[in-house]
């Protein structure tokens, strides 16, 4: 069936991401949801540090860049001062689960009424592919040459499951490795923003993304790895549903 598909106005013309970078898909999904909700004009984006922060050059709506890992602290202040606006952070896994883990834990514990989009590509992308807390066991990175060894660096952090113990309004994990998963992820993002609009509390959607450059794979191989390998450790689905 023929459909209409036009780039959202919140997304500018050219992004600075590498070929096949998952951030490009996820940035667009967030923009589509906000436009479909009619909230493009009053949504405030708080970006992090990392490739994920290049979203602020692409984004045509209001935004600010926070210090590394501190986007949840900045978003807390903005949302408390401007409760009528939609406020959301967009953070990579190095940013959110490493230097910023205190901020995201406490924002969740306080059940702050903003939304976090958590872009998990399993490495520090911008700085050259070092191990992140989310790097899979056995995965080779520039700081785990022989593969991540859990005896030395512990187990990969599952943010959604960890935060679920704090009972925020909404938690889900999606992926972009197939049309089905992209469409489901978009529904999760919509649920997260609707939870915020209804003042239910904190909402977060983790999305598994490919970083072909630092995985040293072609984009097609990287997308395949998300489906075959990354999703095996990070299960997809809604972990805390609205109203639970």
């Amino acid at each position: 069936m023929a459909v209409t598909r036009v780039k959202p106005k919140l997304i500018g013309e050219n992004n600075q991401y590498c070929s096949g970078c998952g951030h490009g898909i996820l940035n667009r999904l967030v923009a589509e949801v906000l436009e479909e909700l009619g909230r493009a004009d009053d949504a405030i984006l708080v970006t992090a540090v990392g490739c994920a922060c290049m979203m602020n050059e692409l984004w045509q709506g209001d935004n600010m860049q926070a210090a590394h890992g501190r986007a949840p602290a900045s978003a807390t202040a903005i949302k408390r001062l401007r409760p009528e606006n939609i406020v959301f952070t967009y953070q990579g896994d190095g940013d959110l689960s490493s230097i910023g883990i205190a901020e995201i834990l406490h924002a969740t514990a306080r059940n702050e009424k903003f939304t976090t989009i958590f872009a998990n590509n399993g490495v520090f992308g911008m700085t050259g592919g070092q191990m992140a807390p989310t790097t899979l066991v056995g995965q080779k990175t520039t700081t785990t040459h022989f593969g991540r060894d859990p005896q030395f660096t512990g187990m990969p952090v599952k943010i959604v499951e960890l935060l679920a113990t704090l009972k925020p309004a909404y938690l889900a994990r999606g992926s972009v490795d197939s049309i089905k998963n992209i469409n489901t992820t978009k529904k999760y993002i919509r649920n997260a923003f609707e939870a915020q609009i209804d003042s239910e509390g904190f909402s977060l959607v983790e999305v598994l993304l490919p970083c072909p450059t630092n995985w040293h794979l072609t984009p097609e191989q990287a997308l395949e790895r998300v489906g075959s390998t990354v999703e095996a450790y990070y299960p997809l689905g809604e972990v805390v549903k609205r109203g639970e």
Binding site: R5, V6, N15, Y17, G20, H23, I25, I179, P219, L223
Partner: protein
């Protein structure tokens, strides 16, 4: 009837679109665009304007309207 516009200058040649097009309508140019990538091109005879290429493209290369 809607049609697909390809903004070839934005394409980075990742080939995700060709992987999801089940009409085999997408091929890649021999020449590169200004950014140095062989870009996606759509065969209008085969394309059914389903939008799957738009959904997967990280660079908003496709418009279907």
């Amino acid at each position: 009837m809607s049609e697909v516009t390809v903004y070839a200058e934005k394409c980075k040649g990742c080939r995700y679109c060709a992987g999801v097009c089940n009409q085999d309508a997408i091929s890649f140019s021999e020449k590169s665009n200004a950014a140095g990538y062989q870009f996606a091109q759509v065969d209008p005879e085969k394309c059914i304007q389903c939008g799957l290429c738009y959904t997967v493209c990280p660079d908003c290369v496709f418009e279907i309207a």
